[in-house]
């Protein structure tokens, strides 16, 4: 990989903080680390060992931009056990995220992307992170929103759907990702349905949209909306894939942007088109050492990574070490346009479409 002198710690420009999306995902990483000559760790052993592992780097990450820049980083796992993402474990998980952040700071990372639940646990309060002098943090959610929006638009175009005439449902609408998606997509659709549990926050977001002339309906019960949605974005912070969609058009377009996924395996409606959103692809070059390509990022296409993690990489390649996304629902269309332009300049583009069954082919 790089020609660092023996014993000298290689340069770390960026760090990507993540957590295993499922026990299966964690098992795959451990099997790869054990190598082909050892039997894979039995599931019960993995569940006994993983929670004790202090947050640490899993691999080095080398990236290349199509604009000739390159950067070096670390993928740091907080090792939040995949079945302990729920509210009951918030304190323990926050401690893990802080330890992962401390690891990134110690490694000398200039920018750190807080992937998936890492930023949710921080709740936009970067003061909760360990003291640092030259490391900055981003939630990465602006690029996530960009890829969700691009995915919806591209899918509609490919399938000959009219986005303009559609009713959009956003699940987790008041969240950082959800509200960014709502702000970007609301002007492009006929009607918007906002869903989350807290009605006060729904009302506030609805008022903001109504002031812009958007036709909005809010609901804390997915079955209570007055009409069926034909385009759905799932961006709720669910600890496991448990979402059942309820009333949506039978041939709806559904983007599941959760990390872990939102949709329950039982949610599939036969004619709906479901795709995993918020994901991008590094076209310039992406290398892991140890080589966990396709294991750490277990997608049916190569070099695909979550948008939240790619944002830190894009900012590094651009030389813009700033907290581009700070959480708390502040993502607006101009921010989204800015980060997607930066990402595209370095060959970080929307990932090909796929879902749990594999690549999504045109209907």
């Amino acid at each position: 990989m790089d020609c660092t002198a023996a014993g000298v710690a290689p340069r770390v420009d960026f760090a990507l903080v993540g957590h295993p999306e499922s026990w299966k995902a964690a098992a795959d990483v451990f099997s790869a680390l054990r190598g082909p000559d050892r039997i894979p760790l039995p599931d019960d052993e993995l569940k006994d060992i993983l929670p004790w592992i202090p947050p640490r780097a899993v691999c080095r990450v080398d990236v290349k931009s199509i604009a000739d820049a390159e950067a070096h980083g670390l993928y740091i796992d907080s090792f939040i056990p995949p079945d302990r993402l729920d509210a009951a474990c918030v304190r323990e998980n926050l401690t893990r995220v802080r330890a992962a952040a401390a690891y990134a700071i110690k490694a000398g990372a200039r920018i750190v992307s807080l992937g998936g639940f890492s930023s949710i646990l921080i709740e936009g309060n970067f003061d909760q992170l360990p003291p640092r002098r030259s490391t900055i943090f981003t939630t990465g959610n602006t690029l996530t929103v960009a890829f969700i929006v691009q995915g919806i638009e591209k899918m509609c175009a490919q399938e000959g759907r009219s986005l303009r005439r559609s009713t959009l449902l956003v699940v987790g609408a008041t969240g950082d990702v959800g509200s960014g998606c709502v702000r970007c997509l609301a002007p492009k659709v006929r009607r918007v349905l906002l869903h989350a549990r807290n009605v006060e926050r729904l009302r506030r977001l609805a008022a903001e949209l109504e002031a812009e002339g958007v036709d909005v309906e809010i609901g804390t019960d997915l079955g209570s909306f007055s009409e069926e949605a034909d385009v759905v974005v799932c961006a709720a912070s669910l600890p496991s894939p448990s979402l059942l969609l309820g009333r949506v058009a039978p041939d709806a377009l559904v983007c599941d942007a959760g990390y872990p996924k939102n949709l329950s395996p039982d949610a599939a409606t036969s004619r709906a088109t479901v795709f995993f959103g918020g994901l991008g692809q590094m076209t310039g070059g992406l290398k892991f050492d140890p080589d966990l390509q396709g294991i750490l990022n277990r997608h049916p296409f190569p070099d695909v990574v979550h948008g939240c993690l790619l944002e830190g990489i894009a900012l590094t390649l651009e030389g813009r070490f700033e907290s581009f996304s700070r959480g708390r629902g502040a993502i607006t269309p101009p921010h989204v346009m800015e980060i997607e332009t930066i990402a595209a300049r370095h060959g970080i583009v929307l990932a090909p479409f796929f879902n749990a069954a594999g690549p999504v082919t045109l209907q």
């Binding site: 014993g7 060992i49 592992i53 640490r56 691999c59 140890p290």
Partner: protein, 249 residues
């Protein structure tokens, strides 16, 4: 405040968990006696008389720990029988003596202070949290002692690694394969290689839940302590993660 446990008459030897504590103590005493032997051997290869003196002092402290654990056993009415020739402990001390034979004081410190102490510190701390009365206190106090001398060794080891990280990490990995694999087997849920030769009758591990402990928890806490120590020395996390992932289960 004295706990009920300490105020009870000697009848506590009939306590249904006494035999579990007896085996836990047997492992602890064995570990302390192995540590005492290790330090005594280390003293013999130290060129610097001051370091030799310190090693002898450590040997005495470890013997005192063993004595304190035996006394704690008597207090709850059990006889603690140790066995430094028990198969796992024999391999662990064998690894240390290999370093002694090579007059490798750094290797000795790696085995004793990074590996065996990680296990001692983590497991004593866990036991201290659940063991009743004076027994818990003894484990807690000895854990604090172990922490203190581990800190002292860390300064030496850190300086050694800083001088030549590659050489240090290679040596550490070689010793890891020998020592940590043995510790992992010792703490594995199932005793695949038969009896440990320290527990009095059948293996204590399946009964640990009766005193709110488990082999998995002791292994997890020990590995965590070990990884934290390696982090403090500056070893790359992605390397040490792979080492842990590759241990036998």
């Amino acid at each position: 405040m004295e706990t009920l446990m300490e105020l009870k008459p000697p009848a506590e030897c009939t306590s249904p968990t006494a035999s579990i504590w007896q085996d836990v103590l047997a492992q602890a005493v064995t570990g302390e006696l192995v540590a005492a032997m290790n330090y005594a051997a280390l003293a013999e290869i130290c060129d610097d008389p001051r370091e030799a003196g310190e090693a002898r002092e450590h040997a005495a402290i470890e013997r005192a720990h063993a004595a304190a654990f035996m006394a704690a056993g008597r207090k709850i009415g059990v006889d603690v029988v140790s066995n430094v020739d028990g198969k796992h402990w024999k391999r662990l001390s064998g690894a240390f003596m290999g370093c002694v034979a090579e007059r490798d004081t750094i290797g000795c410190l790696i085995v004793q202070e990074i590996m065996l102490e990680s296990f001692a510190l983590a497991s004593y701390t866990r036991v201290a949290n659940v063991a009743p009365g004076s027994l818990g206190k003894v484990f807690g106090a000895i854990a604090a002692d172990e922490q203190e001398h581990a800190d002292h060794a860390m300064a030496i080891l850190k300086a050694e690694r800083d001088a030549n990280p590659d050489r240090f990490d290679d040596k550490l990995h070689r010793l890891h394969l020998e020592v940590m694999s043995t510790l992992a087997k010792m703490l594995a849920k199932d005793c695949r290689d038969g009896h440990c030769e320290v527990c009095v009758s059948s293996c204590v591990k399946p009964s640990l839940f009766e005193v709110s402990l488990s082999a998995a928890q002791l292994r997890g806490a020990s590995l965590q302590q070990y990884l934290k120590t390696l982090d403090a020395l500056g070893l790359p996390g992605e390397i040490t993660l792979a080492w842990i992932a590759q241990l036998p289960v």
